[in-house]
């Protein structure tokens, strides 16, 4: 390949085709004091891409509360680390793989799993769980079916093979994601405090080693690809899609953990987006050092690769390791055991430069800091509320006809793919390997894992209602954090840290930028009010297709701690005759609900208002009720409202419920409104007084709704009129058959 010269690059504005603006190019020239060559330009182009540099989101990160007693590592490393006591810590992070998954769903999702796992074990932690948050268009569309099936198979194919259980997740189907699905994967690891390892290249003269898979021409410019809108031409950029090799990843996990255990590692960093370039510059800039590399030493899969290609390759399953000076042989021996190459390709220097040689030739020389996230430009843009809000906010729920019977609506809601059982998904995931999954997918609002050798449990969840955010980014984002926390609390776990994933459209559009700004403020305010520090995050912008942005979709992965795993709680009713009660406030907000979508086919109205003080009180009350053994089930009210919440607790238990709504009002609002700060609990009648005390101590209302029955399900209005009359078998059929019948 004939590379253009520095002069040609300037003359022909070649930087533009790499996604750099004129001003960015000028800035590079200034930093270098000369014109960049092709390889250098490529390095800047990827590392200054939105995907790597967070050019539009970074200015907001300072809003996040990032410290707390338990935070051992906040944002800035490969993953956040939170202390759980007894010398153990939890490591977790979310990463998006939206664009690759839109092009090649299986491999896109699979490599997404692989990538986020590397962020975990590069910190010295053994990955113990993964979760995923998925968004697709409607399942009536054949292409959507293909994407959905491919993504789930890809997550299963990779996660099952590496032996990390996929314990949870969420899937929403909405036209807003038709051309641009979202695939966010969260991984969770467990580490002894003394094994926590950072991605720093320190110690002048220390060797720099490439370990793991061979380097090929995979995904060159994947990061810039992830920073552009999807167009039909995206299909042409196909080589940007990489193929994952979970077998090599599994070996890499074991080898890296063994290596870290051996005590010879100074720093280690996975090679994700922008491969060798980003890992080298991040390790050097964190340590304030420099790195000198000879890329002719990098083990290759293909002949004839240029410096540019080696530096920008996104071949998967590779890491960059800086061991102690005398430990090269130790590293080689450990990797040899697993049949993986480990090769010295350079050394740590003290001049802050990334200096790249190809044999004797110097092919690139740039200051590490200038390439790193901190050195990249940031942008503040014009923000403007989108025009659609006028229409959505003028919605009046009284335009929906009041009915005398809501049985069919309840069945239809249970049948809607967003609400329906996700068994079709999680039965493809090995969610049990490693023998820690105590609360399995489908059993509660969050998964619970034990920590072997202790009595502790870790609860994990991932959440984000994009429709609510679309209708009001600030309130919707508050709701995302509140719901994640509520989900953990319903299992009896105290939330201890969160990681966010910001999935938005093109930030250069004022409306999208406004959504982004509002949503980040919401996430930050909720995290602060609820005392849940932000330990890390990820951003994926430019999620659009045919010029239409996705629903703004911030998602939150959250980790909670149960000091006593024996106190865990699940969401299924447990016994006939138990009292069903609402912990929390009366809520009647239909805006943005699944019910409104069912009736109008649209996202309309104001989403539920979030009151963080109430949210906090509710969560305290629920935790106290669980810790004192007062309740037998807890299930948070979300999509589909109270009726769906109770129906799910029935279906899981194969029991029924006789509920009388103790409020006056529109039945649809009472049954299907999605107001927050509400949890449905069930308890033996004998515990009522005690629970009442716990609730009133936290100043949280507790309202009796009915009793658990042996199978009949009835919802009755305040005045005794029947609203829903059915049987758990019918509910179960609608809920369980929804995905399988649509995917046949």
């Amino acid at each position: 390949m004939n590379e253009p010269t520095p002069l040609q690059i300037r003359a022909d504005q070649i930087y533009r085709s790499m996604g750099l603006t004129e001003a960015e190019y000028e800035r590079i020239c200034q930093i270098l004091g000369r014109l960049p060559n092709y390889t250098e330009l490529g390095m800047y182009a990827v590392l200054w891409s939105e995907h790597c540099a967070y050019k539009h989101t970074r200015p907001f990160f300072k809003l996040f509360p990032t410290s707390g007693e338990r935070i051992l590592q906040g944002p800035g490393e490969n993953a956040g680390v939170v202390d759980i006591g007894d010398g153990w810590a939890v490591v977790f992070k979310v990463e998006s793989h939206n664009h690759p998954s839109a092009i090649e769903p299986y491999q896109g999702a699979a490599t997404g799993v692989g990538g986020i796992l590397r962020d975990i074990f590069t910190m010295g932690a053994r990955p113990i769980a993964s979760l995923n948050s998925l968004r697709f268009g409607e399942l009536s569309d054949e292409r959507v079916k293909y994407l959905f099936q491919g993504v789930v198979a890809g997550i299963a194919g990779y996660g099952n093979a590496v032996g990390v259980p996929t314990v949870g997740g969420e899937v929403y189907f909405d036209d807003g994601y038709a051309g641009n699905p979202l695939v966010n994967v969260m991984a969770v690891g467990l580490v002894r405090h003394e094994m926590i390892t950072k991605a720093v290249a320190s110690g002048v003269g220390n060797p720099v080693m490439v370990v793991g898979a061979y380097t090929g021409r995979d995904g060159i410019h994947g990061a810039t690809f992830a920073s552009e809108e999807l167009t039909d031409a995206s299909e042409e950029k196909r080589p940007a899609v990489q193929v994952g090799d979970p077998f090599t990843e599994k070996l890499l996990i074991e080898a890296c953990l063994e290596l870290i255990e051996s005590g010879v590692v100074v720093g280690i960093q996975d090679m994700g987006a922008a491969g060798l370039t980003s890992s080298a510059c991040e390790m050097a800039s964190r340590a304030g050092s420099g790195i000198e590399l000879d890329i002719s030493l990098v083990p290759r899969r293909e002949p004839g690769m240029s410096a540019y290609e080696v530096m920008l390759s996104e071949s998967q399953e590779r890491m960059l390791v800086v061991p102690k000076k005398d430990a090269v042989d130790t590293v080689k021996a450990i990797f040899a055991k697993y049949g993986l190459p480990a090769v010295v390709v350079g050394k740590v220097t003290d001049d802050g430069m990334i200096r790249v040689f190809d044999g004797p030739d110097l092919v690139a020389e740039v200051p590490a800091k200038s390439l790193s996230t901190d050195g990249a430009p940031t942008y503040l843009r014009e923000a403007k509320p989108p025009a659609y809000l006028e229409q959505t906010r003028s919605f009046d729920s009284s335009s929906i006809r009041v009915q005398s019977d809501y049985t069919v609506d309840l069945l239809n809601l249970l049948d809607s793919p967003t609400i329906a059982s996700k068994r079709w998904v999680y039965r493809q995931y090995d969610h049990m390997v490693q023998l820690n999954t105590v609360v399995v997918p489908g059993a509660a609002d969050a998964a619970v894992l034990r920590v072997k050798g202790t009595s502790k449990g870790i609860a994990v969840t991932i959440d984000g209602n994009g429709r609510h955010v679309y209708l009001d980014p600030y309130q919707g984002a508050l709701g995302v954090v509140a719901e994640a926390a509520r989900n953990l609390v319903c299992t009896g776990a105290q939330p201890i840290g969160l990681t966010d994933g910001l999935n938005f459209g093109n930030p250069e559009k004022p409306e999208v930028y406004w959504q982004l700004q509002q949503a980040i403020r919401g996430l930050a305010d909720a995290a602060r009010e609820l005392d849940i520090p932000v330990a890390g995050g990820n951003a994926s912008l430019y999620n659009e297709s045919s010029g239409r942005p996705i629903y703004p979709t911030p998602i939150v992965g959250m980790v909670g701690l149960l000091e006593e795993i024996d106190n865990r709680m699940t969401s299924d009713f447990k016994a006939e005759g138990d009292v069903i009660a609402l912990l929390g406030w009366l809520g009647t907000e239909l805006g943005g609900s699944e019910f409104v979508k069912l009736k109008t086919g649209q996202a309309l109205g104001y989403p539920p208002r979030i009151d963080l003080a109430k949210e906090k009180a509710l969560q305290q009350a629920c935790l106290a009720a669980i810790a004192n053994g007062l309740i037998r089930s807890a299930h948070d009210i979300s999509e589909g409202g109270l009726a769906v919440c109770i129906a799910e607790s029935c279906i899981q238990a194969n029991l029924g419920a006789a509920v009388t709504l103790p409020w006056e009002g529109r039945p649809d609002e009472l049954l299907f409104g999605e107001s927050a700060a509400r949890i449905v609990v069930s308890l033996p009648p004998a515990n009522w007084e005690e629970l009442w005390k716990v609730a009133s101590e936290s100043k949280v209302p507790l309202t009796k709704l009915g009793v658990v029955t042996d199978g009949e399900v009835t919802f009755t209005a305040f005045d005794g009129r029947p609203l829903v009359v059915t049987h758990v078998d019918k509910l179960a059929k609608a809920w369980e058959d929804s995905l399988p019948k649509r995917l046949r």
């Binding site: 092009i103 090649e104 491999q107 898979a213 090929g216 021409r217 995979d218 299909e235 196909r238 080589p239 899609v241 990489q242 193929v243 994952g244 090799d245 979970p246 077998f247 090599t248 899969r301 293909e302 071949s315 998967q316 049949g339």
Partner: protein
């Protein structure tokens, strides 16, 4: 009746984890002469058509739409006239 044989192979440059694993498996079995291995799919389709040409056109269409994943794979196909109603 026509029988089409479609070979589906990963595009050059695309990582082939299976091929890699098979190559190292063969090496450890003592087949030291092996330089590289690629693993793809071999698909046989038995179909009715009015002519060889029509059969080929149909199968080409199938390969494009379902049998191969154009993002990472390419394919080669052959079609022949056969007797009988079953693939053996």
């Amino acid at each position: 009746m026509y029988k089409a044989a479609i070979k589906v192979i990963l595009k050059p440059g695309v990582l082939d984890p299976q091929g890699k694993a098979v190559a190292s498996g063969l090496a450890s079995l003592g087949f030291s002469q092996v330089k590289s291995v690629r693993v793809g799919k071999y698909i046989e389709v038995l179909l009715d058509a009015s002519s060889q040409q029509e059969a080929a056109a149909q199968v080409e269409e199938m390969a494009k739409r379902l049998l191969a994943n154009p993002v990472i794979e390419h394919y080669e196909l052959t079609v022949e006239l056969v007797e009988g109603e079953e693939l053996v």
